[in-house]
C-alpha cells in the first residue's frame, strides 16, 4: 500500500510545476482515494495480522499440538474433509458434466438449487439436515429401523461438509467442462475414439485445472464449516468436534489452544487459496490458447 502511495506522489513530482494552478487541490484526490481504500483493507487484513502476531509462539504451538483435544480435532477435520471431498468429487463431477453438456427440462431449477447452499446460512442447512436425517426427522424412523444413526456422529459432520461444499466444486467443474470446445470431442470421435476415451483423453485433461481449483475451494469450505456441523452433528470431541468447533470450545477455557488452532486454520486456508490461484492461473493460458 505504501508503495502505491509513493508511486502516486512520484508521478505528481515529475510533472512541471504549475504555478497558480486553480485545480491544485485535485492533486490530493489520489491520496484521498488511497486513504479511503485503506479502511476496508485494514478491516480485512488487520484482525488476521493481529491473530498471527498474538498467537505466534513456538512454545505455545508445541503445547497445543500435544493437547489431546487439539490432536483429535485436527485428525477429525482431516478425516472428514477428505471423506467429504471424495464424495463431492465422485457425485459432483457427473452433475457438473451434465449441466455443462446437456440441455434438459428442469436444468435451470437444478442449477438454482445447487447454488442455494452457497447463500444459505449454514445454521439453516444444519437445521434442514437435522429435520431430514435426525432421530425425529423425516427419514429418522426409517434409518432407526435400519440401525443407522446419523445425527451427532462423524457421518453427520461429513454430510454437513458435503452439503455446504458441493456447490463450490460443481460450479468450478462445470465451468471447466463448458470451456472444452465440443468440436474437440467431435474430432476425437471421427478419429475412432470411444466416448469414454474421449472423456479421459480430451475433456478431463482440459477441464482439470478448473476441477482441481474446485476441489481446493470445496475442501477449504468443508474445513471451515461450523454452523451446519454444530446444528446437525453437535460438538463432541473425537466424534464431531472439528477444528472450527474446537476453536469455539477452547475459547471458553484455554485461549492459547484456541489461538493456535485458529492460526493453523488461517495458514491452511491461505495455502488453499494460493494453490487455487496457482491452479486456475496456470489453467487459463492452457484453455484459452486454442
Amino acid at each position: 500500500m505504501g508503495a502505491r502511495l509513493n508511486g502516486t506522489n512520484g508521478t505528481n513530482g515529475l510533472r512541471p510545476p504549475l504555478t497558480g494552478d486553480p485545480g491544485g487541490m485535485w492533486h490530493w484526490v489520489p491520496v484521498g482515494v488511497a486513504v479511503l481504500s485503506l479502511a476496508p483493507l485494514a478491516l480485512l487484513v488487520g484482525p488476521l495480522l493481529v491473530l498471527a502476531w498474538r498467537s505466534f509462539s513456538l512454545e505455545q504451538l508445541r503445547v497445543a499440538i500435544g493437547d489431546p483435544m487439539v490432536r483429535q480435532a485436527l485428525r477429525l477435520s482431516f478425516v472428514t474433509t477428505s471423506a467429504s471431498l471424495i464424495l463431492v468429487v465422485l457425485f459432483g463431477s457427473p452433475v457438473a458434466y451434465l449441466l455443462a453438456r446437456h440441455r434438459f427440462t428442469g436444468r435451470a431449477v437444478l442449477d438454482a438449487l445447487l447454488d442455494l447452499p452457497m447463500i444459505l446460512p449454514p445454521a439453516v442447512a444444519g437445521l434442514a439436515l437435522l429435520l431430514t436425517f435426525g432421530r425425529r426427522g423425516a427419514l429418522g424412523p426409517l434409518l432407526e429401523a435400519m440401525g443407522v444413526h446419523i445425527a451427532f456422529s462423524w457421518t453427520a459432520v461429513v454430510m454437513a461438509q458435503c452439503f455446504v461444499s458441493a456447490p463450490f466444486f460443481i460450479r468450478a467443474a462445470r465451468t471447466g467442462f463448458e470451456a472444452v470446445d465440443p468440436q474437440l470431442e467431435h474430432v476425437a470421435a471421427t478419429l475412432g475414439t470411444s466416448p469414454a476415451a474421449i472423456f479421459f483423453r480430451v475433456t478431463l485433461p482440459l477441464a482439470l485445472p478448473n476441477i482441481l481449483a474446485g476441489m481446493v475451494m470445496a475442501w477449504a469450505r468443508g474445513l471451515g464449516e461450523f454452523g451446519a456441523t454444530i446444528m446437525f452433528a453437535g460438538n463432541f470431541p473425537g466424534r464431531s468436534q472439528t477444528m472450527p468447533l474446537a476453536v469455539y470450545s477452547a475459547m471458553e477455557g484455554d485461549l492459547g489452544a484456541a489461538l493456535t488452532l485458529a492460526l493453523i486454520l488461517l495458514f491452511v486456508s491461505l495455502g488453499a487459496l494460493l494453490v487455487f490461484k496457482q491452479v486456475t492461473g496456470g489453467g487459463r493460458s492452457n484453455i484459452h490458447a486454442v
Partner: protein
C-alpha cells in the same frame, strides 16, 4: 469418391432440406454464410442428426431415418477438419497427429506420423503445442491428424477462411498434393469462390438451406440453372433479353439492338429470358480484327476501364434504345496493345457456348 444424401432438418426457424448426389475427387459445397453448408457437412459426419432422410457414403448406409440406422461418428471413418481446426491444446503437433493411432505399435505410430510430417512439411514444429503454431501450420496439423488414420473421405469446413490470402494458394496446393498422394476424396465447405474454381470437380451451390444446383464445375459456372446461381458463381453479366428462335439447341437472342447466338445442351424456349455471360469469356475486338465464325458481335461504347490487378475490367454500353451495359475482362497484354479511352466506340465478340439462357420465369429447374 461418391456420396448421396437427401435429408431434412428443422433448426428453430431455419429449415435444411438438402438433396445431393456427388461423384467426384473433390466436391465443394459453396454458398453464402447461413446457407446450410456446415450443417450438411455435420450431417454427413454424424454430429448433426437429420429429422428425415438418408445418407449413403461410398456405398455404405450411414443414416436412414425410416429404418433407424444411424452410424456413430467413430464407425463412419471420415476425416474432419473443422473451421477452427480444433487441435487438442494440451498435446503437441505430433501428438495431435498421433491421436487417432492409439493401439498401434510405437514403431508404426512413429512411421505414420513421420510420413505425415514429411508430406505436410511439419517436421520443424512437431514438438510445439498448438498455441505456438501459425494459422497455416495449425491447418496442416489438423489435416495430417485427419489423414493419418486413412479416412474414407476427408471433410473440411471453410479450411482457408481464417488464413491470410497469400497463404491460401499455398495450402490449396498442399491439399491437392496430399489428396493425390493418399487418393482420398475431399468434400469441402466454402464461401470463397476461388475454392470452388480451383479445387472442385463438382460444385453444389447452397442457399437458404436448399441446393440450388449440384453439377460438374463447368456446368455450374458456365451453365447455371438460375440467375441466383449465376450471381453466386460470379457471373457479372446477367441481362434481360428476348429469345426470338430456338432450334436444335441453338438460340437466337436479341439484347438491345444486338443479336447473339447461344448454343446449349439445354433447350431454350422463345420469349423473354435472362442472358448470362461471364466477363472473362467475352472479348473486345481490336480495330483490325474480325470475329470468329462461332462468335456473335455487338457494337457499343466504352464507359469505364479499371485495372483489377490481373486484368482490365471494362464496362461497355451496347448500342440501341435499351442497350444494357456489359462487363468485359480484357487481358493486360491485350489492353496494353489495343487499349482505348472511355467514350470510344468498340465491338464486343462472344462465342456461342459462352452465352447462356435462363428462362425469365422461374421454372422447375430453379
Amino acid at each position: 469418391m461418391q456420396f448421396e444424401l437427401a435429408i431434412e432438418k428443422q433448426f428453430g426457424g431455419f429449415r435444411l432440406q438438402v438433396d445431393l448426389s456427388v461423384e467426384a475427387r473433390t466436391a465443394v459445397l459453396f454458398g453464402p454464410s447461413g446457407a446450410g453448408k456446415s450443417l450438411t457437412l455435420q450431417s454427413i459426419l454424424g454430429i448433426v442428426k437429420p429429422d428425415r432422410g438418408r445418407i449413403t457414403v461410398m456405398g455404405e448406409l450411414f443414416f436412414d431415418a425410416s429404418t433407424g440406422v444411424n452410424l456413430r461418428l467413430q464407425d463412419r471413418r471420415l476425416g474432419y477438419v473443422p473451421q477452427s481446426y480444433a487441435l487438442f491444446p494440451h498435446l503437441t503437433a505430433a501428438e495431435n497427429i498421433a491421436f487417432g493411432l492409439r493401439g498401434r505399435s510405437t514403431a508404426e505410430v512413429r512411421r505414420e506420423v513421420g510420413a505425415m510430417l514429411d508430406l505436410l512439411r511439419l517436421h520443424e514444429v512437431a514438438d510445439r503445442p498448438p498455441r505456438r503454431l501459425s494459422g497455416g501450420e495449425q491447418q496442416r496439423v489438423a489435416l495430417a491428424r485427419a489423414l493419418v488414420v486413412r479416412p474414407r473421405l476427408l471433410l473440411l469446413d471453410e479450411p482457408f477462411s481464417a488464413l491470410d490470402p497469400a497463404l491460401r494458394g499455398d495450402l490449396r496446393s498442399q491439399l491437392l498434393v496430399a489428396q493425390r498422394e493418399l487418393g482420398v476424396g475431399v468434400v469441402l465447405v466454402s464461401h470463397d469462390l476461388v475454392d470452388a474454381q480451383t479445387l472442385a470437380d463438382m460444385v453444389a451451390i447452397l442457399d437458404g438451406g436448399r441446393v440450388l444446383q449440384c453439377d460438374r464445375r463447368e456446368e455450374v459456372f458456365y451453365r447455371p440453372v438460375s440467375v441466383e446461381v449465376a450471381r453466386f458463381t460470379g457471373s457479372r453479366n446477367v441481362v434481360r433479353g428476348e429469345v426470338s428462335s430456338a432450334i436444335d439447341g441453338v438460340a437466337t437472342i436479341r439484347i438491345g439492338s444486338a443479336t447473339l447466338t447461344a448454343r446449349s445442351a439445354r433447350p431454350a424456349s422463345t420469349g423473354p429470358a435472362w442472358i448470362i455471360m461471364r466477363a472473362e469469356r467475352i472479348r473486345l475486338l481490336a480495330d483490325d480484327e474480325t470475329a470468329d465464325r462461332d462468335e456473335s458481335t455487338a457494337r457499343g461504347t466504352l464507359k469505364t476501364a479499371t485495372f483489377s490487378g490481373t486484368c482490365w475490367r471494362l464496362k461497355v454500353s451496347l448500342d440501341g434504345a435499351d442497350g444494357p451495359v456489359l462487363e468485359v475482362d480484357a487481358p493486360v497484354w491485350w489492353w496494353e496493345r489495343h487499349g482505348r479511352e472511355p467514350g470510344a466506340a468498340c465491338t464486343v465478340a462472344v462465342g456461342s457456348s459462352a452465352v447462356h439462357v435462363v428462362p425469365s420465369r422461374p421454372s422447375a429447374a430453379g
